[in-house]
């Protein structure tokens, strides 16, 4: 018995020892594991630090190669004329000012009523809670109407020297001779020159300033005015309808093809002013037109505002191409509204280049109401230091078998913000629609910002829809390749950016493509090289 007990005790002891041993072993294992973990972590952390360091060096090298130029000489765009005018209404916005604009223009009563109704809407609406900050924009500091010392002429020689010289430097009269079928030139609030080639006038094409159109074609204006772009769309469309002045009216009769483009050029010279031109274009059944709009202003230290309105009516089987090259100065708030209604088998093509302004909010809209209607949007936005360019497009497919494409390119540099914002909506019953969007953003430095904010709303199942977006920097390999072919780094980068902008450039008439390339080169000078 005693033996058995002693055996048991010894068994127990052995077991105990075993357990102790195992626990010790486990503890050592755990310690080893813990030490292992610590060692591995330390190793990994060291590796990472080394990698981080080397990457940072690489990046610092790259950054060193870049030089920045704060303000660029924008050449002819920046030429300022003395601010002489015949009438300049006091700054701010109230009912009296609106009545005064209307009475200066000798407008019919219905127009004044529309203005006053729009003013009421403007007062009720707030600035948008999304997008760029508009708090700097103070309507009390902006003169809504400035009449230059000039009458509207149809001969450049009659236009006052100073104003004519500005347009000459911008190349407008020369362009008219060479490749335009008609030109309108607006200086501050009034159109100073308007002309259209005789053979088009004979075919019934009307191209005139909007003020004259209200007087000469009251029925048609009353029928169409404010029906495509409504005053209650947003705050600045309401403002536009309250104080609009100048702009163009184009009428293309049924079956008439305007084979060479028409152009309107909008120039703002006065500081602290607003330009609110209204453009209304009607292309009747089977007609076609290419309309070009150019905008610029010299740079001042006060805020200027551009809130134009564009209404386009594209009838059955008609085709309209609307091109804009905008190079407002960096003190401009460009809150422009553009809208097109496209009927059966009609085509609207938007070409849009946004280079200037401090803040832009511009989203041309295409409403496709007829079966087989098409919209094609091609846009480029180049945001430099101090600029916030919030641009994009809107397409609403309201009819079956409608088709839309949106292709945009955004470039930002030197702390500029380029924001792409869009809407593609396919409504109930709009079967068999196709839509394709492709937006690309290129950022030239780390201070800049490139955002893409698209919205897609599909309300039926029979759609073929695609959307793609890319954002990033210039590919080093592409630069290396071009440099290996004998180009300097600067040339290589400029070539890549021009290539990036190519889809827009190729849609423009040659002379404008050249101008756009020059604008890009100008913008790029400070950014890379």
């Amino acid at each position: 018995m005693a033996n058995l007990r002693s055996n048991l005790t010894s068994d127990h002891n052995i077991k105990q020892l075993d357990t102790d041993h195992k626990v010790r072993q486990l503890n050592t294992d755990r310690n080893v594991k813990r030490l292992d973990t610590e060692r591995i972590l330390a190793e990994k952390a060291a590796e990472r630090e080394a990698l981080k360091e080397s990457r940072r060096k690489e990046r610092a090298e790259k950054l060193k190669e870049r030089t920045y130029v704060e303000e660029l000489d924008r050449g002819v765009y920046d030429i300022k004329n003395p601010n002489t005018y015949e009438i300049m209404l006091e700054k701010g916005l109230n009912e009296e000012i609106v009545r005064e604009i209307s009475s200066i223009k000798n407008e019919p009563d219905w127009m004044l009523e529309k203005r006053l109704a729009a003013l009421k809407i403007y007062r009720e609406m707030k600035n948008p809670n999304w997008g760029p900050d508009l708090s700097e924009l103070n309507m009390d500091e902006i003169a809504t109407y400035i009449r230059p010392k000039a009458q509207m002429e149809s001969n450049w020689q009659e236009v006052p020297d100073e104003i004519r010289r500005t347009f000459e430097l911008l190349g407008i009269p020369e362009a008219e001779l060479d490749y335009l079928s008609g030109v309108g030139a607006q200086y501050d609030s009034e159109v100073v020159y308007h002309n259209v080639k005789d053979y088009l006038a004979l075919q019934g094409v009307i191209y005139t300033d909007f003020d004259s159109a209200v007087v000469e074609y009251p029925e048609i204006i009353q029928e169409y005015f404010g029906t495509c772009l409504k005053p209650n769309l947003h705050r600045y469309s309401a403002l536009h309808y309250a104080v609009w002045s100048g702009g163009s009216y184009v009428y293309v009769p049924e079956g008439v093809h305007v084979d060479i483009p028409l152009q309107s050029y909008f120039r703002m010279n006065a500081p602290g002013a607003g330009q609110f031109e209204h453009t209304l274009i009607i292309v009747e059944k089977g007609g076609s037109l290419h309309f070009i709009e150019g905008c610029s202003a010299p740079r001042y230290n006060t805020i200027n505002l551009h809130a134009g309105g564009v209404e386009l009516f594209v009838k059955e089987g008609a085709k309209l191409r609307y091109s804009t090259i905008e190079n407002w100065s960096r003190n401009m708030y460009n809150l422009n509204s553009k809208r097109a209604i496209v009927e059966k088998d009609g085509v609207i093509e938007w070409i849009s280049g946004s280079f200037g302004s401090r803040v832009s909010m511009l989203y041309p809209a295409s409403i496709l109401i007829g079966e087989g209607a098409r919209s094609e949007f091609t846009g480029i936005t180049f945001a430099g230091a101090g600029q916030t360019l919030d641009t994009g497009a809107q397409v609403v497919h309201k009819a079956p078998h409608t088709y839309s494409t949106v292709e945009t390119k955004s470039i930002s540099k030197g702390g500029g913000k380029a924001i792409y914002r869009s809407l593609v909506q396919v409504d109930e019953g709009a079967y068999g629609c196709k839509s394709n969007t492709d937006c690309q953003s290129l950022m030239l430095d780390a201070q800049s910002r490139g955002d893409t904010i698209p919205t897609i709303i599909l309300k039926n199942d029979d759609v073929d829809f695609g959307h793609e977006a890319k954002i990033g920097r210039i590919d080093d390999q592409a630069i290396f390749y071009l440099m290996s072919r004998g180009l300097s780094e600067e040339e290589a980068k400029a070539m890549i950016v021009r290539g990036f902008a190519e889809p827009v450039a190729k849609e423009l008439p040659l002379e404008y493509a050249v101008e756009m390339n020059e604008l890009i080169n100008l913008e790029l000078k400070g950014a890379i090289g």
Partner: protein, 356 residues
Amino acid sequence: MTNVKMKTKELRGNTLPAITWNWMDVNDVKIDLQNEQIIPYTAVQSVGTIDHDLKQTFYDLDHGISEEVMRMNDEQCNLANHWTISDSEPIEVRLPQSAENPLLVDQNQIIVPPLQKGTVVLYNYSEDDSRVERNSTILVDVENDAEVKVVLIQRLNENSVSNVSIVARVGDGARLNLATVELGAGNTVFHYMVDMEGFGAESHVKTAYLGSGNDHLDLFYHVRHIGEECISDIQVNGALMDHAVKKFRGTIDFVEGCSGSDGNEEEFTILLDDTVRSIAVPLLLAHEDDIVGNHAASAGQIDDEQLFYLMSRGLSRKESEGLIVESRMTPTFDQIPNEELRLDLRQEVHTRILRR
């Protein structure tokens, strides 16, 4: 009328990091949480206590669906789970709801210490036809060089409401894989927000959804690249039928300093009926040039050729459709470790398409 408790204001949440035109109604969504009481949840017992300090630091990052929804989650919490992951078997938690358990307000914390790997599956489903509500928060902290897979499966019935907020933080060289399956709930609000703080952190998201009946799905993702050389992708695949409405709103946010980062988001919707509504808002926000960001969204009907091929092999039209829809969801289903569950979900997709 007297017994209806009126809310003082409408709850809204999932607000876009960069808002856009208000009239489109895509900036935020309406949240349908009606419960204001504390009701116990008994189907699963609590497996841990919540680390409140940790929670606080997470809530500083983000408000989840909305501040108000997070507050309700705090006040009404009836299930708390806390896991510190070590290399181990996948953790699978089943969260059934029924007339007996109409409310699930769960708080989950998943902590993955350095170098550890793990998998957590949370499976929430209805056991009957009664209306149930879920308001869930899931905090995921992936420390340096760790890796975790989080799988969320939601199969509540069409009368129910599901609100899930995931807030995550990913450290140096760490990786978060998230797979979500949304097959249920008449009203689904999903919120995913990740801060990729570490060097070379990764976030990979795969979502599969099927919307039918009058389902309303809001799928919200906000991926922030903060550390250098972070990699992220979001892949959302699904199908819509009947009167279902889906909003996909994904943002890849490149914060200044995230040099060398790469972010992708891709959304693909199959539209099975004329009456569905598909909305997509894929955002890219870039505050850094040395990055690559891509997004692609597409939608359309099932490819005729694929359908023709399958039907020529003797399958019916609906069977073929089911097969094609399921194939789009396979990458997400493949993330589920439990094979039985995986098969079950596949079956459900088929059945629902066949039944339509």
